[in-house]
C-alpha cells in the first residue's frame, strides 16, 4: 500500500471549525480533486486518512499533518498541487512525502510548540511580566484545575500537575497587535514548548489559566498559534516530515 504524509497550515479563516468538520473539509476536497485515495469498505465509505494532533477550536497552525493511503502511486508534489487546488484558501499544504513507516501519526506525536499572544486589562510592564513568569517556572510543581466532562454532561474539575509538561517558555514583548486588540492595557508573546500527544499533553489554555491564577497576570484575551509538532523517534524529537520519521 502507498502512503503519503502531508504538512499543512490552518489560517485565520478556518480557526473556528472543529476537528470533525475539518475532516469533512478534507473529505470533500479529496472528492473534488479526484485523487486516488483509498476508501474504507462498508456502506458509508470514508477516505483513509489520519490526522496528527487535533487543533482546538480557535487556534491557527503552520504545522498540521496527516497521512493518506493511496490506491495508486502518485508523486508527492503532484498530490500536494492537486489537493491545494481543491482546498479552501485558508488551508494550504506545504509539504508532502512518501511514507513507509507503519507508525500512525496520531499515536506518534510527542511535543508541540506554540506562540501565545496574551492580552491583559492591567498595565503590566514587560519587566514585571518576565519576573512573574520566571518565578512561576521556578516552582517544582504547578497544579491547575482541569475541566473534565462527565458522562452525564456535568462538568467536574480535576487537579493536574503541569510543570513536567512544560519544556520551554520564552516571554517577548508584542511587536504588533492585531486589529481590535488595541483596547487592552498590555500584551505579550509567549513562545512555548509543551509535551503533546496521547501520553502526556498540555493544552495551551491550561497554561494560560496557570498564568492567571498563579503568576498574577490577568489574561483577558489570547490568540494561540501552533508553530511546530514533534514526533519522538529513537528518543529524539523531530519534525514529522523529517526523513527519519517517514521510514
Amino acid at each position: 500500500m502507498n502512503s503519503l504524509r502531508i504538512g499543512f497550515t490552518r489560517g485565520e479563516g478556518v480557526k473556528f471549525i472543529s476537528h470533525l468538520d475539518l475532516m469533512k473539509v478534507f473529505e470533500r476536497a479529496i472528492r473534488r480533486s479526484n485523487l486516488p485515495i483509498a476508501y474504507s469498505q462498508g456502506f458509508n465509505p470514508h477516505p483513509q486518512m489520519v490526522f496528527g494532533l487535533p487543533l482546538a477550536v480557535g487556534m491557527t497552525s503552520e504545522c498540521e499533518c496527516a497521512d493518506f493511503e493511496l490506491t495508486e502511486e502518485i508523486a508527492p508534489g503532484q498530490f500536494m498541487e492537486r489537493l491545494n487546488k481543491s482546498l479552501p484558501e485558508a488551508i494550504r499544504i506545504t509539504a508532502a512525502a512518501h511514507k513507509s513507516s507503519k507508525k500512525n501519526i496520531m499515536a506518534s506525536i510527542a511535543g508541540a510548540d506554540y506562540v501565545l499572544e496574551i492580552f491583559s486589562d492591567e498595565d503590566i510592564s514587560f519587566h514585571t511580566a518576565k519576573q512573574r513568569v520566571g518565578s512561576l517556572l521556578n516552582r517544582e510543581s504547578i497544579k491547575v484545575l482541569k475541566e473534565a466532562k462527565g458522562k452525564d454532561r456535568s462538568t467536574a474539575f480535576r487537579e493536574v500537575e503541569i510543570r513536567p509538561l512544560i519544556l520551554n517558555i520564552e516571554l517577548e514583548p508584542i511587536e504588533c497587535r492585531p486589529e481590535g486588540y488595541e483596547i487592552f492595557q498590555s500584551a505579550f508573546v509567549i513562545k512555548a514548548g509543551f509535551k503533546a500527544g496521547s501520553e502526556a499533553n498540555l493544552r495551551p489554555e491550561l497554561f494560560i489559566n496557570a498564568l492567571c491564577e498563579q503568576a498574577n497576570i490577568s489574561v483577558v484575551a489570547s490568540r494561540i498559534h501552533r508553530k511546530a509538532l514533534y514526533v519522538c523517534v529513537g528518543g529524539r524529537m523531530i519534525d514529522p516530515m523529517d526523513e527519519a520519521a517517514l521510514i
Partner: protein
C-alpha cells in the same frame, strides 16, 4: 468598515463558524468595485438558512452580475446577539463583514410566518428603522419575497417593496432600475415609483385599506392613479434555460440539508386543498433529465459533497424519474456520492431504486395520508386510498424496511371524532400489515410513528375561507388520539397548537396585524419557531396591547364575498376556481390532478408548463 470580531467573543458563543464566513465557493469581491450591494437575509440561523435552495440560487445569480455584490446574512443566535449588543456590533454580512445598514438592499426571504419577529430583530440589529416610513434617504431599501410574501400585509409597514413569485428575472430588473436611479441621484420615493410598474412588484406604501364596522376589509385602494391594483406573480417558463448555480457554498459546519440539491421541477399537479404550495407554485414545469444530469455533475465537481438529493414538491411525480435516477446512480457511484431519494410513492420500481441507492439502513420511510378516513381524504383531495397505503407499506416491509412514519393533520374542515379515530385505526392497520409478512422476510423491531400537525388555513387555497379549530378543540383531539393509540409498535408525536394558532393569524393577517408583530418583538419575541424561545404569553400580551383579537383571524369562518388582504395579489389561480374547489370539498368530491386532466384553475394564462398540453383540447385557461 469591517466590524471587528475578536477571538474571545467568538470563543464565547456556540458554533462560531456560523459568523465567520469564508466558505468554499462563497463569492469574494471588492465592495468598492461594485455599484450595488445586496444583503440577502434569512431570518433564521445559519444552519437553517444555508439549507434553503432559493437563497443559494439568488445568491449565485446576483453575484453573476459584475455590478453587484450579494452577501449572506443570518439571524445571530441568542448568545451572539447578546455579545453583539454588548459590544455595539451591528448586524454584518458574512462575506465582507460590513454593517448591513450600509448596503443598498436588505432583502428577506419569507419562508414561514414564525420568522417575522426575526425580520424585525435583524433590522433593529442593523440599525435600520423598523418602519418603512421612518427610513431616510441613503438608507437601504428593505425588500422581501418567498412564499409568505403572497400575503404581504402583516409585514407591509416594515418592507419597502415585495417581489412576488420566482425571483430569477424580477430581481435583475430591479437591480437594473436601481443602477439607473442611483446614477441620477433621485429620491427614495422616486425609485419606488420606477419599480412599481415592474410586474410582480408590490410597494405597500402606495396603497391603503379601509375597513367595515365588523372589522373586515372594505376596500383596497391605490393612493395614486396608475399604480397597478393587481400584482401578478412572476414565474419562469422554461426551467432548462434559467440560471442554476454551478457551484454552491460548502459550509464549515453541519447544516440542516448538508448536500447538493437538485431541483427537478417547480409546482405540483396534485391540488391537495390544504396545501398552499400546491396552488401558488402552479403550473408544473419540469427540467429535462439531460439538463439535470449536467447540473448534478457540475455541482458535484465543485462541491465534493458526499450526497446529492433530488428535491421538488412531489418528486415521485417527475416524468423523467426512471431515466434520471438510473443514470445519476451510475455517475454518482463512480464519484463515491450517495443519491438521497425523497419520499417516493412506493411501488416495485421505487423500492428497487431505493434498494440500489441507499444500500444502508432500512428505516425511515415516510407517508403522508394527511387524514384518517377516506371521506376526509376526499374532502382535502388527497388522492391516497387505504389500499394504496397498505400495499406500499406491505411492499416496504417485505423489502426489509421496519420503520414507517405517518403524517396527518388534525383540525381539517368537516373533521369529526370519527375521522380523528381513523388515524389510530390506520396506524393499527399498518402494524397488522407487518405481521402479514412472513417472519423470515421481515426485519425485526417494527416502529410506526404517527405525527399530527394542526391544520392552518392558508391564502390561495380552497380552504382560505375556513376557520381553524380552537386550541381547546385541537388539544381535545390530540388527547383523544393519545388515548386511542395504544399498540406497542405505535408512537405518537404531536405539535403544540399555540404555534399553529399564531401561524393561522399571520398567514391570513391584514395590515393591522403588523402592529402586533412590532409589539411582540418589543416584548422579546424572536426565534418563535424554536420551541425553547417561543413565548406564547408575550404574544397574547401583544394582541391585548394592540386591541386585536387573534381569533378574528384564526378561528372565523369567512363569507364568500369577503375581501381578503391578499386579493390584490394574483398568483394565477382564480378566486372562482378556489371557490369551486371549496364547494367540491364540502361535497366530498375529488378533483383530478393536472396529469389526468385540466380543471381550469386559471394558471394556463401563463402559457407554460403542463397547462400547454391542454390548450386547444379543453378550457385550460380558467374561468375568469
Amino acid at each position: 468598515m469591517q466590524v471587528i470580531l475578536r477571538d474571545e467573543l467568538l470563543q464565547s458563543v456556540e458554533k462560531p463558524a456560523r459568523y465567520t464566513g469564508g466558505e468554499l465557493n462563497a463569492f469574494v469581491k471588492n465592495p468598492a468595485e461594485v455599484d450595488i450591494r445586496f444583503a440577502f437575509c434569512f431570518p433564521d440561523t445559519y444552519e437553517v438558512g444555508m439549507s434553503h435552495l432559493g437563497m443559494r440560487i439568488l445568491y449565485g445569480l446576483l453575484n453573476e452580475r459584475v455590478d453587484t455584490y450579494c452577501e449572506r446574512v443570518f439571524a445571530p443566535w441568542i448568545d451572539m446577539e447578546a455579545r453583539m449588543r454588548e459590544n455595539k456590533i451591528p448586524l454584518f454580512s458574512l462575506e465582507s463583514r460590513e454593517p448591513v445598514g450600509n448596503f443598498d438592499f436588505v432583502g428577506f426571504t419569507l419562508q414561514y410566518e414564525m420568522s417575522y419577529t426575526n425580520v424585525l430583530n435583524m433590522l433593529d440589529l442593523a440599525g435600520i428603522p423598523l418602519l418603512r416610513d421612518d427610513r431616510k434617504e441613503g438608507q437601504p431599501f428593505v425588500c422581501a419575497g418567498g412564499p409568505c410574501a403572497y400575503n404581504p400585509e402583516p409585514l407591509a409597514d416594515f418592507v419597502d417593496f415585495f417581489m412576488m413569485g420566482e425571483g430569477e428575472e424580477i430581481i435583475n430588473e430591479v437591480m437594473d432600475a436601481y443602477k439607473q436611479w442611483k446614477s441620477e441621484k433621485a429620491s427614495r420615493n422616486d425609485f419606488l415609483n420606477r419599480i412599481v410598474s415592474i410586474e410582480g412588484i408590490y410597494v405597500p406604501g402606495f396603497y391603503s385599506f379601509s375597513y367595515n364596522e365588523d372589522g373586515t376589509i372594505k376596500a383596497f385602494e391605490a393612493l395614486r392613479e396608475g399604480y397597478p391594483t393587481k400584482i401578478r406573480k412572476r414565474i419562469i417558463g422554461d426551467l432548462d434555460s434559467v440560471y442554476y448555480p454551478d457551484k454552491m457554498v460548502v459550509p464549515y459546519l453541519s447544516i440542516v440539508h448538508d448536500r447538493t440539491t437538485l431541483e427537478l421541477f417547480r409546482g405540483c399537479t396534485r391540488g391537495c386543498r390544504f396545501c398552499q404550495a400546491g396552488f401558488v407554485y402552479r403550473p408544473v414545469r419540469e427540467r429535462t433529465p439531460a439538463r439535470l444530469k449536467e447540473m448534478a455533475n457540475r455541482l458535484q465537481d465543485s462541491t465534493g459533497y458526499e450526497e446529492i438529493s433530488l428535491i421538488s414538491l412531489s418528486t415521485s411525480d417527475y416524468s423523467g424519474l426512471p431515466e434520471l435516477t438510473s443514470s445519476l446512480l451510475d455517475d454518482m457511484e463512480a464519484k463515491k456520492v450517495n443519491l438521497a431519494l425523497p419520499s417516493l410513492r412506493i411501488d416495485s420500481f421505487s423500492l428497487e431504486l431505493m434498494e440500489k441507492a441507499q444500500k444502508v439502513r432500512k428505516s425511515g420511510l415516510t407517508f403522508a395520508p394527511e387524514a384518517g378516513t377516506q371521506r376526509l381524504r376526499d374532502v382535502i383531495n388527497k388522492g391516497v386510498t387505504q389500499e394504496d397505503l397498505l400495499n406500499s407499506v406491505g411492499l416496504a416491509f417485505k423489502g426489509g424496511w421496519n420503520g414507517v412514519k405517518l403524517y396527518f393533520m388534525i383540525g381539517l374542515p368537516t373533521e369529526t371524532m370519527e375521522d380523528v379515530e381513523g388515524i389510530a385505526v390506520l396506524g393499527k392497520k399498518v402494524v397488522d400489515e407487518y405481521y402479514q409478512v412472513p417472519k423470515d422476510s421481515r426485519n425485526r423491531r417494527l416502529e410506526v410513528t404517527i405525527s399530527t400537525s394542526s391544520f392552518v388555513p392558508k391564502p390561495f387555497t380552497p380552504f382560505q375561507w375556513e376557520p381553524q379549530d380552537s386550541m381547546d378543540t385541537l388539544r381535545e383531539k390530540q388527547s383523544y388520539l393519545k388515548m386511542r393509540i395504544k399498540d406497542k409498535h405505535l408512537r405518537y408525536n404531536w405539535h403544540d397548537p399555540e404555534t399553529s394558532f399564531l401561524e393561522a393569524v399571520f398567514a391570513r393577517g391584514d395590515r393591522r396585524t403588523g402592529r402586533v408583530l412590532l409589539r411582540a418583538w418589543e416584548l422579546g419575541c424572536k426565534f418563535d419557531s424554536w420551541r425553547e424561545h417561543f413565548k406564547f404569553d408575550e404574544w397574547m400580551n401583544a394582541f391585548e396591547d394592540c386591541g386585536i383579537d387573534p381569533a378574528f383571524y384564526a378561528n372565523r369562518k369567512r363569507g364568500y364575498d369577503e375581501v381578503f388582504p391578499w386579493d390584490h395579489i394574483d398568483v394565477g389561480v382564480s378566486k372562482g376556481f378556489l371557490l369551486r374547489e371549496n364547494g367540491r370539498a364540502q361535497q366530498e368530491e375529488i378533483t383530478p390532478n393536472c396529469m389526468t386532466s385540466c380543471s381550469g384553475c386559471g394558471v394556463a394564462s401563463f402559457g407554460c408548463g403542463i397547462c400547454i398540453d391542454y390548450q386547444g383540447r379543453k378550457g385550460g385557461d380558467g374561468d375568469e
